[in-house]
C-alpha cells in the first residue's frame, strides 16, 4: 500500500515570490509520482510526472519538481508565482507494477496555494 503526505494544507505567498509545496510518500514498492492542480469547480489537471530518468522534472505553467528517493520526497517548486496559480495542488503516487492490474492513484490531502497581489 502507498500513502502520501502533503505537509502544508495552506500556503499563502506574494505574487512573484518563489514557492515550494512539499510532498512525502511511503511505499513498499517502486512508484511513479505526479502533481495535479485543481482550480475552483474544475477537475484535476496534470502538472507534471516522474516516471524515470532525470530526477528534476519540468511541467506546465513553469512548475518543476524534484524526486528524492532517499528522502521519499517529491516537492513542487515555482520560482515566481502569478495570481492565476491560486488553486489546490495534489501530489499522487501509483505503483510501477501491479500484479492485480490496478494502477490506482493514491492522493495526498492537497495544499491550497493562495497568491497575494
Amino acid at each position: 500500500a502507498q500513502s502520501v503526505t502533503q505537509l502544508d494544507s495552506q500556503v499563502p505567498v506574494f505574487e512573484e515570490a518563489p514557492v515550494e509545496l512539499r510532498c512525502n510518500y511511503s511505499s513498499s514498492v517502486s512508484v511513479y509520482l505526479f502533481w495535479y492542480v485543481q482550480y475552483p469547480n474544475q477537475g484535476l489537471q496534470l502538472l507534471l510526472k516522474y516516471l524515470s530518468g532525470s530526477t528534476l522534472v519540468k511541467g506546465i505553467n513553469g512548475f518543476e519538481a524534484e524526486f528524492n528517493k532517499s528522502q521519499t520526497s517529491f516537492h513542487l517548486r515555482k520560482p515566481s508565482v502569478h495570481i492565476s496559480d491560486t488553486a489546490e495542488y495534489f501530489c499522487a503516487v501509483t505503483p510501477t507494477h501491479s500484479g492485480a492490474g490496478s494502477y490506482q492513484l493514491t492522493f495526498g490531502k492537497g495544499t491550497k496555494l493562495s497568491v497575494i497581489p
Binding site: Y103, L105, K109
Partner: protein, 115 residues
Amino acid sequence: EAGVAQSPRYKIIEKRQSVAFWCNPISGHATLYWYQQILGQGPKLLIQFQNNGVVDDSQLPKDRFSAERLKGVDSTLKIQPAKLEDSAVYLCASSLDRGSGNEQFFGPGTRLTVL
C-alpha cells in the same frame, strides 16, 4: 479533442434517496475511473474499469454504491440509498490504457450534497 464529460454538475438530495451520475470518457480511452473527493481530502478511487470489465472495486461500498460500463464507453455510478457521509465531489477520469505511466484525464466532477 473533447475532454471527459460528466453530468449533472450539481445534485442535492435527501438521505435515503437514490442518485445517479453519468460519465463519458475521452474517445478511445479503455480505462475509466470513478473517484470520491470529500471536502478537505484528496480523491479516493471507488472503481476502475478496463473496457467493460471491473479491474478494482475494493474501495466501493457495495451495499449502496454500484457502477456499470456496459458497452465499454460511458459509465454510470449509482448510490442507493444515500447517506449524509456521501456528500462529496464524484470525479470521473479516463486513460488510454491501465498502465501506471498512462495519464489520467479528469472530468469537472459532480458535487453531491446529501441533506
